[in-house]
Amino acid sequence: MDGISHIVIEVGDLARAKEFYRLLGFESADAAGMPECGRSALFLTASGQAVIFSESPQPRSLPETGVHQAYRISLSDRNAVARKLAACAVTVHTYEEDRPSEKADNFYFYDPDGNRIQLVASPASSEGSGKILGIDHAAVECHDLEWAEDFYVKQLGLEMDHRVGWRTDDYVRAKLWGEGKEHMAPGTRRWDQRYTVMEQKRRLPRPNTHFFVRLGEEILGIYLATQHRQEPPEDQVVGTPRIGFRAGCQTMERVAQALAASRTPMKGPVEHPNSASIAASLYIRDPGGNFLELCVPR
């Protein structure tokens, strides 16, 4: 797998989402659709990676968690987007980050449905084009990080990029967050209620364990869910929101075999008709119930 091919996010109102994302520099490509997205619209970035908005009465955006989508943009375009967002009264947040490459520079806001968007200034392009350059990274949450690591690293074969929450350094920084000295991105820290009685403290700040895996130029973050959440039915392997990984036919076969050996449910490989923007897909879900898709590009 050499990168993120597409992201499917859920929105409450397709027209409103289209308008908002056009503002950021996404361009609609209505000719090509993405299979298994329900009533949806496909937008393209300059890199050819797609973002698909799937209409849902209750969009699963999880705004208070580590879940987010990050897109690459030139610095001058990001400044222009900042002005447009200010005009629409959308608040931009800058946080401290644990991952070294995002530490110094970040830019977050929410779309009208609560999907958290990050715009990453691309060092490769300072010239403005008015377009979103590509997908930089995405993040999901999982209720078992050991299982998730096994799944993403051992079964899917992705490379571990960075881990947070295993070290005293992380605790020391969590304390700074607790004292209000560091403004951390959602999902990276949490308040622990348990020690209320034991230590006569109201709450205890802790790092929320998470890790990042690498797919070529792109990154996927997996955060520990701090609350129990209803997962999709156990036998459902295709759904939204979803993250699509770009893969060759051989990689898809290898992953399908590995998952079959561990009796992980999947659907496919499925060949798509010519009207679809991708040639074939293998639909799976991770141990946290997040929908994933391996797809062969056209």
Binding site: H143, D144, L145, E146, R163, G165, W166, R167, T168, D169, Y171, V172, K175, R190, D192, Q193, R194, Y195, L204, R206, P207, N208, T209, L224, A225, T226, Q227, H228
Partner: protein, 155 residues
């Protein structure tokens, strides 16, 4: 008198859980036990980050400290920083183990020969990456049989 029955485990403080697990499992040959705070249930219940490693019949819980601990001087290899754990090996394997530590460039002091009348034969002294003092020794009474307990991990 409380009349305790046995030692169950020791909890030791570490600065980096992965580094500690790597040291105890891949250098000293422990088995990986359970880890805590990598599941949502642990986050909801509010638990510290810790793990466990099982060295033959002994469980060490590895607790990530919330603050940096004072460290013993780097050159000090023998001592008790709080306390020291000593692990027994058979005399026949003692040289093999000291050579393995040398090969991995883990500094140790010794082997220190103990007096003839002591049940201990010889010891080496060293530290884990978080500055916890450790000792490996062989015993003159190594042929005495003992019942190996069943150790699983921390819940």
């Amino acid at each position: 008198m409380a009349e305790l029955e046995a030692i169950s485990h020791s909890a030791i403080c570490v600065h980096d859980l992965r580094e500690a697990e790597d040291f105890y499992c891949n250098v000293l040959g422990a088995r990986q036990g359970t880890r805590v705070n990598f599941k949502t249930d642990d986050a909801v219940r509010g638990r510290s980050v810790h793990g466990s490693v099982i060295l033959e019949d002994y469980l060490l819980a590895l607790m990530v400290t919330r603050d940096f601990m004072p460290m013993p001087p780097a050159e000090q290899l023998r001592g008790a920083h709080g306390f020291r754990h000593a692990f027994r090996v058979r005399r026949a394997r003692f040289d093999e183990i000291t050579n393995e530590l040398r090969r991995r460039e883990i500094a140790f002091e010794g082997p220190v020969e103990h007096p003839e009348k002591s049940p201990f034969g010889a010891s080496i002294y060293f530290k884990d990456p978080s500055g916890n003092f450790l000792e490996i020794l062989w015993r003159r009474d190594e042929d005495v049989n003992y019942q190996k307990p069943y150790v699983t991990g921390v819940g």
